[in-house]
C-alpha cells in the first residue's frame, strides 16, 4: 500500500518554480468554472502520518486558489452538541455546498483510527464504522460530489528526520512536542491500522491517493496536479459519467390487497372516549418527557407522512400539547430551499436532528425522496431506488445514537380527501390550506399510493417500523398516534440493556 511513498520522491526547486505558475493558473480557472456551474461540491481529505506536511499542503492549496470559496474543516474532540447526536452529524454539518471546496483536515477517519490504535475500539466495531463510511462516501458521490482522499505517508525513519528538521528550524520548532515523539513509538501500529482502513475504504467511487510526505515540493505539486486533473475531468462531464447497472426490480401488486388498502378506515372514536383518552395519553407523554431516562440519554424524532388533508397538522398539535415548548421543534418540509438544493437530499434533515432530551417533529420528511420525487420525476429512478437503503442507514444511525424514531403514515380514503378538500374551499379560515397543487396531486392518487406501499415495505425495519394510522376519523387517528408515541417511548426507556441491539 505504501511502497510507492517510500521511494524518496523529490522535486527540485527549479522544476517546482517552473511548474507552479502554470498549475496555479489552471487551478484558479477550474475553481472559477466550478463556482459558476454550481453543480457539485469538492471534498478534499488531508490525512496521514504526523509531520507529513498536512498543514503546509493546505496552506499551499489556499495560496493557489481563491480562498473565499474554500473552507477548512478541522475536527478535534467532539463538542457537547456533537456528542448528543449521531457520530456523522458533525461531518454532515460541515459539507461544502455545490460550487464550494471543503478541505477536511482530519475527517471521519481520524477518530476511528486513533481509537483503534489506543485500543478503545474493537476490530469488529472499527469494521462496522468503515461500512458506514463506505455508505456515506458512496452516497456523496452518487449525489454528485467529487471526493479526493489524500493520505500522506512517511517511512519510520522519514518521520524521525522530519521531526528533527522541524525542531531545528526556529520557525517550526514550536510544532514539535513530546506528543510528536510519542507518536513515533506507535508508528508500526498506525501503519497496520491505516493499512487496514485504507484497504477497506479504497472504493472505486472514492479511492485513496497515497502521497509521500517527505519533500514539500513533491507533495504539494502532486496534490495540486491531482486536484486539478480531477476537477477538469469532472467539469468536462456532461452531467455525470455513467456506468452500467441492473434494471430496477419493481414489485407490481397482483391483487387488490396492500398495507394501505387493508386498513379498516371505518374505525371511529366517540367524543367522550376521545376526550378521556386524549387526557390520559397526553398526561403519560408529559411524564415520559420528564423521565430522567429520556432527558439524559434519549431523543425523539417523529415523522408524519400521508396524503394531503390526512390530518397531520391536527395530530402534531395534540402531541406537542403534552410537551414543554422549549424542548421540541416542528419542521414543516416543503420544497427545499436554494441552500438545501446545493447539498445531498438528506442534508436538510441532518441539520435539524434532535439532541439528547429533545424532540423534532417532521411534518413530511426524507420520505419525500421515494414519494413526491419519485412520482413527479424530480429525481431519476436510480436515485429513489438507492434512497431506501440510504434512509434505512440514516435512521439506523439515529437509533444507535439513542433516538427513538416513530414514523406515521396517516391514511384516508380518496373520497374522504375529496370531502375535506371541498370543506376547505367552503370555509373561509381553512381556504389557505388548499392549493391547485393539492388538486393536481390528487389526480395521481394511485401512483402515490403505490409509492407509499413500496415505502412501507422497504423501510419498515425492526427498530424503526412504520405505524399506519386509519385517519378517516380524526379522533381515532389522534389517539392512535399519541398511544403509539407513548408505547414506543416506554419500550425504549425500558430497554436499558439495549435489547433491540442484540438481534
Amino acid at each position: 500500500m505504501f511502497e510507492s511513498a517510500e521511494l524518496g520522491h523529490k522535486i527540485d526547486k527549479e522544476t517546482f518554480n517552473q511548474e507552479e505558475p502554470k498549475l496555479r493558473e489552471a487551478l484558479l480557472e477550474a475553481q472559477h468554472e466550478m463556482m459558476d456551474k454550481k453543480e457539485f461540491p469538492v471534498l478534499i481529505l488531508i490525512s496521514g502520518v504526523d509531520g507529513s506536511g498536512k498543514g503546509e499542503t493546505i496552506n499551499q492549496l489556499y495560496s493557489w486558489m481563491d480562498p473565499r470559496h474554500i473552507s477548512t474543516l478541522a475536527f478535534s474532540e467532539p463538542t457537547d452538541e456533537e456528542r448528543m447526536r449521531p457520530v456523522m452529524w458533525r461531518y454532515w454539518r460541515a459539507l461544502p455546498a455545490q460550487g464550494k471546496i471543503g478541505i477536511f483536515a482530519g475527517s471521519w477517519y481520524s477518530q476511528p483510527i486513533t481509537d483503534r490504535i489506543n485500543g478503545d475500539l474493537r476490530r469488529s466495531d472499527l469494521d462496522a464504522r468503515l461500512v458506514g463510511i463506505n455508505s456515506f462516501e458512496a452516497m456523496l458521490v452518487n449525489e454528485g460530489a467529487l471526493v479526493l482522499k489524500f493520505w500522506f505517508h512517511l517511512s519510520h525513519e522519514g518521520q524521525r528526520s522530519r521531526l528533527k528538521a522541524l525542531e531545528k528550524n526556529p520557525k517550526t520548532a514550536w510544532r514539535v512536542t513530546q506528543e510528536s515523539y510519542d507518536r513515533l513509538k506507535t508508528y508500526d501500529k498506525l501503519q497496520a491500522v491505516a493499512g487496514h482502513v485504507l484497504r477497506v475504504t479504497n472504493s472505486a467511487k472514492a479511492p485513496w491517493i497515497i502521497v509521500e510526505g517527505t519533500d514539500d515540493a513533491y507533495r504539494s505539486l502532486t496534490v495540486g496536479r491531482i486536484v486539478l486533473d480531477a476537477l477538469q475531468r469532472r467539469l468536462k462531464q456532461q452531467g455525470r459519467a455513467m456506468v452500467p447497472v441492473a434494471p430496477a426490480i419493481v414489485q407490481q401488486p397482483i391483487d387488490d390487497k396492500s398495507v394501505l388498502s387493508a386498513l379498516d378506515l371505518t374505525q371511529r372514536l366517540g367524543k367522550k372516549d376521545y376526550e378521556s383518552q386524549l387526557a390520559k395519553y397526553q398526561g403519560r407523554l408529559a411524564e415520559l418527557m420528564r423521565d430522567p431516562r429520556f432527558v439524559g440519554k434519549r431523543s425523539l424524532a417523529l415523522v408524519f407522512e400521508g396524503p394531503d388533508a390526512a390530518g397531520k397538522g391536527g395530530c402534531i398539535r395534540r402531541v406537542v400539547a403534552a410537551m414543554d415548548a422549549r424542548l421540541y421543534q416542528i419542521i414543516p418540509v416543503a420544497a427545499p430551499t436554494e441552500e438545501e438544493r446545493e447539498q445531498p437530499y438528506l442534508w436538510r434533515f441532518w441539520r435539524h436532528l434532535p439532541r439528547t432530551g429533545r424532540v423534532v417533529i417532521y411534518d413530511r420528511s426524507w420520505y419525500g425522496r421515494v414519494l413526491v420525487e419519485r412520482v413527479e420525476g424530480f429525481c431519476q429512478e436510480n436515485d429513489w431506488l438507492r434512497a431506501y437503503a440510504e434512509i434505512n442507514d440514516f435512521e439506523q444511525q439515529l437509533v444507535e445514537a439513542g433516538s427513538v424514531v416513530v414514523k406515521f403514515w396517516l391514511h384516508i380514503s380518496a373520497d374522504e380527501q375529496l370531502r375535506r378538500f371541498q370543506e376547505r374551499q367552503e370555509t373561509a379560515f381553512k381556504r389557505f390550506k388548499i392549493t391547485d397543487e393539492d388538486w393536481r396531486n390528487r389526480e395521481k392518487w394511485d401512483e402515490y399510493m403505490a409509492a407509499a406501499c413500496d415505502m412501507v415495505d422497504r423501510t419498515s425495519t425492526g427498530r424503526v417500523p412504520w405505524t399506519t394510522v386509519e385517519a378517516n376519523d380524526k379522533n381515532f387517528a389522534r389517539i392512535k398516534v399519541l398511544r403509539t408515541v407513548c408505547k414506543r417511548l416506554e419500550e425504549a426507556l425500558g430497554d436499558e440493556q439495549g435489547k433491540y441491539r442484540k438481534t
Copy 2:
C-alpha cells in the same frame, strides 16, 4: 419489512387459470431470447420461512420454463472439499453461465441466518458476513448478472396452519417432521434475524422481494410475474442500463521514481552462490510443505506476474522442484475460454483455488484485469477501477480461509527484454516462446509499467503484499522468489494465534 406479506393475499383458481397460460408463454419466450443473446445469467434466490412454499414455487418455475436451461442449486452442510476453501467457494462453483438460469434453494444467506439463530455466530461476525455478501452481489450485478432475491414470509399463525394443512394431506404429510414444529418455536428469533439481514442486504442493485407464502396461486403468480418483468426489462437494455458515477481519479507520476524504476536491476548472483542457496531454500521449502501445521490447516497460492520474458516459468520450475507433484497445480493464465467468458472475471480463478495442504501456482493471474485488460481496453475504465477493491476482497477471503498468498512481480528492463526476445528468435528450441503479440505488447511498455505501478500501490496489502523481484539476473530472481516463499510460509505457520488478524 414483512407487513405486506401478512395481509392474506389470495388469488382465486379462476384468475390463476386465466393468467397462467399467458405468463408461461411470455416466460418461455423471454427465456429463449436470453439464451440466444447469452449476455447475462439470472440468479433466483428462493428463501424464507419453513413451509412457505419454496419447493412448490421452484417446481412451478420449472413447469413454466425450459428446464434444460435451469439448474437448481441446493446447499446443505458443506462438504469436506468445501470446508477446505473460502466460504463463498461453493457458490462461485454454482454460478450459472450467461444465458442460463440458476435457482438457489438456499444460498449464501442460509448458513449465516441459521448460525445466528442457534447462537453460533456473533452479531459482529454476522455483520462482517453481510458486508462480504453485499460486495459479492454488487460484483455480480456489475458483471451483468440479473439477481432476484425472494423471501417467502408467513405469519406465525400462518406457519402453524400451513404445517397442519400439509400434515392432513397424505401426499405432503411426509414433509412435516418434528423439526418443522421445532422451527415454529424459533419463529420470533428467525423474524428478528431475517429482518436485520434483509435490511442490511436490501441494496438498490439486488433488492429483496418479500412475498406472502400462504396461498400457492398468489405466491407462484407473484414470483412468475416478477421474474418475467425483470427478464423483459433486462433484455430491453441496450447493453446495460447506466447510472452516473464520479470521474476516475488517476494518479499521474510527476517524477521518474516508481516502485519499479526504483529497483536495482544490476543485482546478480554468481553460479556457486546460486547453487548452494538453491539447494538450501528448496530443502527448506520441502520441509515446510510437510510441516503438519501446513498440511492440516494451510494452503499456498503463488502469483507470478511480470513483462514477457521476465523468467516466470524458470522461477516456477525452481519452486515446484521442491514439491510433491501430487500436491501442486500450475495454472497458466492466457485468454479466457468460452466457458470462462460467460462468467464474472474472477470465476476462473475461484475454480482452481487450492484446498488445505495444497499449492496452486498462477502463471499470470486475476491481475490481468488491471494490466492487459486495462491497457488493451478489453474492459471499461469503470470495470478495472472497481477491480482493485474486488481483488483485495478476493485475496482477503483466501487469507481468512487459511491460504498463504504470495505475489511476485518479476521485473526486467526494456533492454533486457529485447535481448531475451532476440535470443529466443535465434534459438530453435526457444522460438515457440516468442510471438507477434509479444512484440506488440512491447510497444506499450510504458503503459504496462504505469498499470503495474498502480497495481502494486492499490493491491499490496498488509496480509498480501507484493514482492517485486529484480529479474535481469535469473539466478538472483529465482533465489529471491524461493527465499520469499519460505519466509512467508514460516511466518504464517508461526502465526498460530492468527496475529495478522488483530490489526
